[in-house]
């Protein structure tokens, strides 16, 4: 294989596919939430709750797959708080979402006492048999754990459901105009609740992936801003699932690349390299939103507005 400055492209692609799983899952969940007209800024908190809940479940049961279920449940449980506050008590979504992140970071830290330095049970690689041995491609595409393929499958499923099914149409309608949806007899708050729970579960899955596979161990603040990047990717993707895939690979790629550059002894100081994914997030968002309101056009019209049925 060719090397670029000590970096092997096959390994780079393989590791970017792994690196992008958490943000892709979280971003997909948030995309569905935002499509239904809810802005949940608590992705980071739900991710880290997923990370710790998944970690604890996996360690206690010794089963990594149950660990992922636990992670999803943890994220969904935290999102339930958000749903109750914003959908039943009509709290401000932005403030509630930020509080959710703070709360999740704190609670996960508390729950994680005594889990530092423990190794979680290993998640196996999907057995592709001889496919794995294809030079280059085998390493790139067929050497991963099942969550990598699952996340790609979820992208396709989300795209299909939102675009072609009645469920998807109803979710989009609720996010477009809750008043009109209510007038037609749709239960706006119930639909949004379901979407928020889905978003929480996906963020939790993403978090669990970090603590169970990507790192894999538990430390406080393990998600390190992945939730914020996931939020940015939703805007970057202009609320289209397939673009979430591109966005997640792009950001995952930059993260991996800067790690590789560091390892390869690049002349650029480490600090610049580690801030690069965030800088590029900001840049991309600026470029996206400068494009003559195209993003604005695609954004769900009722995004961030609470709904209360009156008269």
């Amino acid at each position: 294989m060719m090397d670029f400055g000590g970096i092997n492209p096959a390994i780079l692609i393989a590791s970017l596919m792994v690196a992008s799983v958490p943000i892709m899952l979280a971003a997909l969940g948030e995309l569905v939430v935002e499509k239904s007209g809810v802005l949940n800024l608590g992705v980071e908190g739900m991710m880290i709750m997923g990370a710790i809940c998944g970690f604890i479940t996996a360690v206690k049961t010794g089963n990594p797959y149950l660990g992922f279920l636990g992670g999803a449940a943890g994220g969904a449980a935290l999102s339930l708080i958000f749903a109750f506050l914003t959908q039943s008590l009509l709290a401000n979504q932005v403030a509630t979402g930020l509080a959710l992140t703070m709360f999740g970071l704190g609670l996960s830290s508390l729950m994680g006492q005594g889990y530092n330095g423990i190794k979680p049970p290993l998640t196996g690689v999907v057995p592709f048999g001889p496919l794995r041995d294809i030079p280059g491609i085998g390493r790139m595409l067929f050497s991963h754990d099942w969550m990598v393929y699952f996340s790609i499958g979820v992208v396709a499923a989300t795209w299909y459901v939102l675009k072609y099914t009645r469920t998807g149409l109803i979710i989009r309608a609720v996010g477009e105009s809750h008043d009109a949806a209510h007038a037609l007899g749709y239960k706006v708050n119930r639909i949004r609740l379901m979407c928020i729970l889905f978003g929480g579960a996906m963020a939790g899955l993403g978090g669990a992936y970090i603590s169970l596979i990507r790192v894999p161990q538990w430390t406080d603040g393990i998600t390190a801003g992945a939730g914020w990047i996931a939020l940015a990717i939703v805007v970057f993707a202009s609320w289209k699932p397939l673009r979430v895939l591109i966005g997640a690979y792009l950001f995952g790629g930059i993260t991996v690349l800067q790690l590789n550059l560091q390892a390869a002894g690049s002349a650029i100081p480490v600090e610049y390299l580690s801030m690069s994914p965030y800088l590029i997030t900001i840049l991309v968002l600026v470029i996206m939103s400068s494009g003559k309101g195209r993003t604005a056009l695609n954004a769900p019209a009722a995004l961030g507005q609470n709904f209360h049925a009156s008269r």
Partner: protein, 513 residues
């Protein structure tokens, strides 16, 4: 045909519904026969909308019963109402702008067929009723009339027994109204009952077989609209004798330049799905009122923004008394006497969560001198707010109340009064009486006429043709961002106006068949 000959479809008996602080319906009873076009008449807040929402299952009555073809009828949700055969076209469109026509229709149906089959069905039904529609178009790109077609088609695909229409004609051109009425008559002839809500009395006289009149939530009478005059019905609705607004004597102000002149104004719309202004020219002298008609979404909002200074243009495109001000923003324009009352009361004309005093300050600061060395002069601001409240009879517990808490008509009186009180030179008002009841509307119209008598140049943008004809000296139509040459109102016939409006978007050809 009389009512007795029709088999009874829906009987409403003794329905009562109370909300905290207000009784929306009190012991309301009426009946609709099969194939009957029945009107519900009443002012805003008379309880018409609440009543039909109960029939449609959106709201549950506190007491009272309904019978549908002889059986008890109490829909718990719209789905149940639709299953019985009730369909509803909403006053404020219940459409989704970012979805296409077929998707919008599918959302209103219980078991829609696949998108392909549905699109074909929409085409078929819409052509059959003379309401052509392209299923693939985004609703955000449609005109008001076309949007209403989407709603009607959505109902027709359900094969309804009872079609409820809540103020369907308020945003339509005369031609579009004609098309709508023909569709409705065709439906009625096929045996569909129609419950028609409106306060346009001439329309009701020409369309409806019978009418129930509501005032403050109670049934105050019923009549056969054909046998009554519009005036009689109006007085039943309001419960008082109405006087039309009067215009003071005109005088010649002897200016050599018009108070406001717009020359070849072009402006790009800042709004998503908006209409850009194209080569707009007109002039208004002091003491004159120019009425601008047109179907919503043809550039009304943009024109108002361009006149207020929220959209700036080349300097020479807007002239005040011969001085170029096109490139100046709203504050500069206010200083020289431009005041603007936008269409959107909550959010544009007034900050919803701020008090009336604060809202009075927001546009009055410059002309009323409500600041002192950069600080708000609260006593003067309160006095100004109180003056508006008194002069324009704004019903409010006090000047400290949030704008949001006022009813639509009262807030409208406040925001229009606030502008008219600033001894303005040029007044631009968009939709002065939108959603305002007859008494408040008459007060607002009278105030506008008084300002014209006092020497202001006034531009009234409205969709209510009757209002424009009553107020204006000259009349022009905005259509797709272009303004027709203004014509004197005297001698204009309603047909000519319809042709000027021409905004029936392809429906005109059908109308003249």
């Amino acid at each position: 045909m009389t009512e007795n000959q029709r088999p009874l479809l829906l009987q409403v008996s003794g329905i009562t519904k109370a909300y905290p602080g207000v009784i929306a319906n009190s012991d309301v009873s009426f009946a609709i026969g099969t194939g009957e076009v029945h009107a519900l008449l009443g002012e805003n807040g008379a309880g018409k909308s609440t009543l039909v929402k109960m029939i449609y299952g959106l709201v549950k009555p506190d007491s009272g019963t309904m019978t549908w073809r002889g059986a008890a009828y109490a829909p718990s949700e719209p789905r149940a109402a639709r299953a019985s055969g009730v369909a509803m076209v909403f006053q404020h469109f219940s459409l989704f702008e970012a979805l296409n026509v077929a998707e919008n229709v599918a959302l209103g149906m219980e078991n829609p067929p696949g998108m392909g089959a549905l699109a074909a069905k929409i085409k078929e039904v819409s052509t059959a009723y003379g309401l052509p529609l392209d299923p693939a178009r985004m609703v955000g790109d449609l005109s008001a009339g076309e949007r209403q077609r989407v709603e009607i088609i959505r109902c027709l695909l359900q094969d309804p027994k009872l079609l409820i229409m809540d103020e369907p004609t308020s945003v339509l051109t005369p031609q579009e109204v004609e098309i709508l009425f023909r569709t409705l008559r065709q439906l009625a002839a096929e045996g569909t009952s129609i419950l028609y809500i409106s306060h346009k009395l001439e329309e009701i006289r020409s369309l409806c077989d019978s009418a129930t009149i509501l005032r403050r939530g109670k049934v105050v009478g019923s009549c056969i609209p054909r046998d009554r005059t519009a005036r009689e019905m109006a007085e039943l609705m309001v419960g008082a004798v109405l006087t039309p607004p009067e215009r003071g004597a005109k005088k010649d102000w002897g200016d050599d330049k018009p108070a406001l002149e717009v020359i070849g104004l072009n402006a790009t719309s800042p709004i998503a799905f908006g209409t850009s202004l194209k080569d707009i020219s007109f002039a208004v002298n002091r003491g004159e009122i120019l009425g601008i008609a047109g179907v919503a979404g043809n550039g009304q909002v943009e024109l108002q923004l361009a006149l207020s200074g929220e959209i700036t243009s080349a300097n020479g495109m807007v002239m005040a008394h011969g001085v170029a001000i096109g490139a100046h923003g709203p504050i500069d324009r206010r200083e020289i006497g431009f005041v603007v009352a936008p269409e959107d009361r909550l959010g544009h004309a007034a900050a919803p969560d701020m008090s009336l005093v604060e809202n009075a300050f927001l546009t009055g600061a410059v002309r009323q001198g409500l600041t002192q060395r950069g600080f708000v002069d609260w006593p003067a601001t309160r006095a100004f707010a109180d003056q508006i409240i008194q002069t324009y009879d704004v019903r409010t517990p006090g000047n400290h109340v949030a704008a949001r808490a006022l009813s639509g008509g009262n807030l409208q009186k406040f925001v229009i009064g606030r502008e008219l009180l600033q001894s303005p030179d040029v007044i631009v008002i968009n939709q002065p009486t939108w959603g305002v009841d007859a008494a408040a509307a008459a007060a607002i119209r009278q105030a506008i006429l008084d300002r014209a008598t006092a020497g202001a140049a006034i531009i009234v943008i409205s969709q209510d043709l009757d209002e424009l004809l009553e107020l204006s000296d000259n009349f022009a139509v905005l259509n797709e961002g272009r303004l027709s040459p203004p014509r004197p109102v005297k001698g204009l016939s309603i047909d000519e106006i319809g042709l000027m409006m021409g905004g029936a978007h392809g429906a005109q050809a059908v109308a003249h068949v």
